[in-house]
Subunit: 387 residues, 2 copies
């Protein structure tokens, strides 16, 4: 039974891969635009560091593309999340609601604020936060005091929720914002994987109080390492920028800093790469969506698995393609992965649930059975922009 | 009196500046080597992100140049300090001895560890930690319990001392290491400004348990933004590298992280810049030392001020040149600065003592009168590698 299924899956995926590659990684960056030109301009002008025209240009173009008022370019997505959490008001001792299925940076950023991740279950439909289930959980496990939400069991304030748009697939933001409103939660979108994804026609990261993007080497566009804070709130934007530049107060020559800041500003040389990459985003997205279309076509007919497709209201960047086994079976999942690795197709499972990592295993959580189920079912497929 | 002195200083400094510039900043980077070649190679190979041959090469070459066993390339000097403090064992609640005259990042890095900066006075001779004065202070204000040093007044553990090599001038490391040994302190060198500086023939940053370098745009060499942890201890090096790469445990496909890590790894594209810059370091240092020689020549004859020169046993990179007024006089200092700014010579005072910044004004400290005195006397001069 399993052997036949594994053969079918392997053949289907191989049929989609180009034939001229030695190895098929999940992602490799593509540089076919003005990358050279802009970087050479940086070097020639000697503006490579944290002040420079490409940083400004990259921020303006990012804001325009994602439809927010302000974008602040920073060293990476983790820094963007950290700043987002601070400026929206996360305090030491708070709990922050995050999905149990995410990259570890989502939880780490909470910890950098001396706050505690509070793990929330995921949803079969979106792979993101399971809003309905969370609603019921919050109703019975929290209380409100002076307009603030508290965890009944720990007595800690729950200040913020972090919806993460898994693999680029948008969370149902209407539902999520409704819940946030009901429970007085700030919203920080982890849109690290979401550049080019839209919910009801609006770009992800434009719904929350703030959002974080990533331009790591594996993302839709790359700046080497990089990220951005997105927000429609000028005050939050100014504070995020201030914190990212060591909280230095403008002065002709004095070194005055008015709070504990960070060196999180994106260097100009990396922003130059970003400007060139952003120009190519329509092409990248077209190719990504086309690859997903091809996967879906060959996988649709295989019984026992499903290719994950965008849901109603969503336009996904298909940053990372995924198949789901009909039934949770971690052995079968691993067998499939092993077999594809033999073919040099470097598929991976979804992240281990964050609540299972040693440093997070004692954090508060709701029932996480859907996340566990998804973890035993999901395999991520190469999602490169080939040729 | 003052007017005459200000005229003399202005004329002396102007006489050293090249005549073809519109403005004279403290530093601008120079790219006259293989910068473009290596960066183009990065783009062509698509290895721009945090894995790639230039990161490895840069680390090897840095270690060789500074004479340490291991260098770990990270996003900036602040990240290098943060990791250095963690791996040498700074714990939440600890106090860390740092000079009151430093860039704010030295204190911030301590705070990121949930430790407290404990401010130490500086020395007229080195501009770094005043070791003799600190010795006397520790003798009367600390006690030892189970081989650990404690602050008598706060009862907090004092775990670590951070000598900073101000403007590239080495601290007297023999004295400092003797003190550290006597009081069981770990040593983290803040060598952010010290690339190319040597104490008794050994590169700064090679004396402590760990050290931090910076490759910010204003430093001796630049990677856009960047830094490095230096250490002779393989275990500390491995841990710093592990922490800088999100504490990810090697596995073919599983995402396992075994502690709270960071995204602090230097991207390959920035390391490519670093490799090209490092090749030019002998040239940069020669020019910097030559500029200092010229400053000294024209300033020597002016009564009332002194040009800061390297002390016995030291070979300084003269990263940032400085003059000192004979007597503390903040008004005179500011008048000189103002006058030179009018001439487009963008001189600056040394940093405001960190203990005077709002977020650090309640931190423990010893008498800081020398630092205060130095703050009212020092003016930093343009230290560019011209032409
Ligand atoms: C969901 C998620 N959050 C946060 C991050 C952190 O971004 P970065 O790697 O740029 O720090 C990533 C990407 O790595 C991610 O996938
Ligand atoms: C003394 C000192 N420490 C730390 C730093 C921090 O380095 P970076 O700016 O690369 O984070 C700097 C430089 O900016 C510095 O001068």
């Amino acid at each position: 039974m399993n052997k036949q299924l594994i053969d079918q899956i392997t053949n289907a995926i191989k049929s989609v891969m180009p034939t001229d590659q030695e190895v098929y990684p999940l992602h490799t960056p593509k540089f076919q635009g003005n990358e050279w030109k802009y970087m050479k301009d940086c070097i020639d002008s000697t503006w490579v560091s944290s002040v420079g025209k490409y940083v400004d240009q990259f921020e303006k173009e990012l804001a325009a593309y994602t439809g927010v008022k302000r974008a602040i370019a920073v060293t990476n997505g983790t820094a963007a999340l950290h700043l987002s959490l601070i400026v929206t008001g996360v305090q030491p001792g708070d709990e922050v609601l995050i999905p149990s299925l995410s990259f570890v940076a989502t939880a780490n950023a909470v910890t950098y604020c001396q706050a505690t991740p509070h793990f929330v279950d995921c949803d079969q439909k979106t792979l993101g936060i399971n809003v309905k289930k969370l609603f019921a959980y919050l109703e019975t496990n929290t209380f409100v005091k002076q307009g603030q939400l508290y965890n009944k069991h720990t007595n800690n304030r729950i200040s913020t929720i972090v919806p993460m748009h898994t693999f680029g697939h948008p969370v149902d933001m209407d539902e999520l914002l409704e819940l946030a409103k009901q429970f007085d939660l700030k919203v920080v979108e982890d849109a690290a994987e979401g550049l080019g994804s839209f919910y009801k026609g609006k770009h992800v990261g434009s719904f929350g109080d703030t959002a974080a993007l990533s331009f790591n080497g594996n993302k839709v566009i790359t700046t080497g390492g990089g990220g951005a804070v997105l927000t429609n709130d000028e005050t939050l934007a100014d504070r995020a920028k201030h914190l990212s530049t060591v909280a230095k107060v403008p002065h002709q020559w004095e070194y005055i800093h008015d709070e504990i800041g960070f060196n999180y500003r994106m260097p100009n040389i990396n922003a130059a790469l970003g400007c060139a990459q952003l120009e190519q985003i329509p092409l990248f997205l077209e190719k990504k969506r086309n690859l997903a279309y091809q996967y879906n076509k060959v996988i649709k007919s295989i019984e026992g698995i499903e290719f994950f497709t965008e849901k109603e209201h969503n336009h996904s960047n298909y940053w990372l393609n995924a198949i789901l086994l009909d039934d949770p079976d971690i052995n079968l999942r691993n067998e499939i992965i092993q077999r594809l690795h033999k073919e040099k197709i470097l598929v991976r499972p979804i992240w281990k649930p964050l609540n299972e990592l040693v440093m997070y295993q004692n954090c508060p959580r709701m029932d996480l059975s859907v996340s566990k189920d998804l973890n035993e079912r999901i395999i991520n497929l190469p999602s490169n922009v080939w040729e």
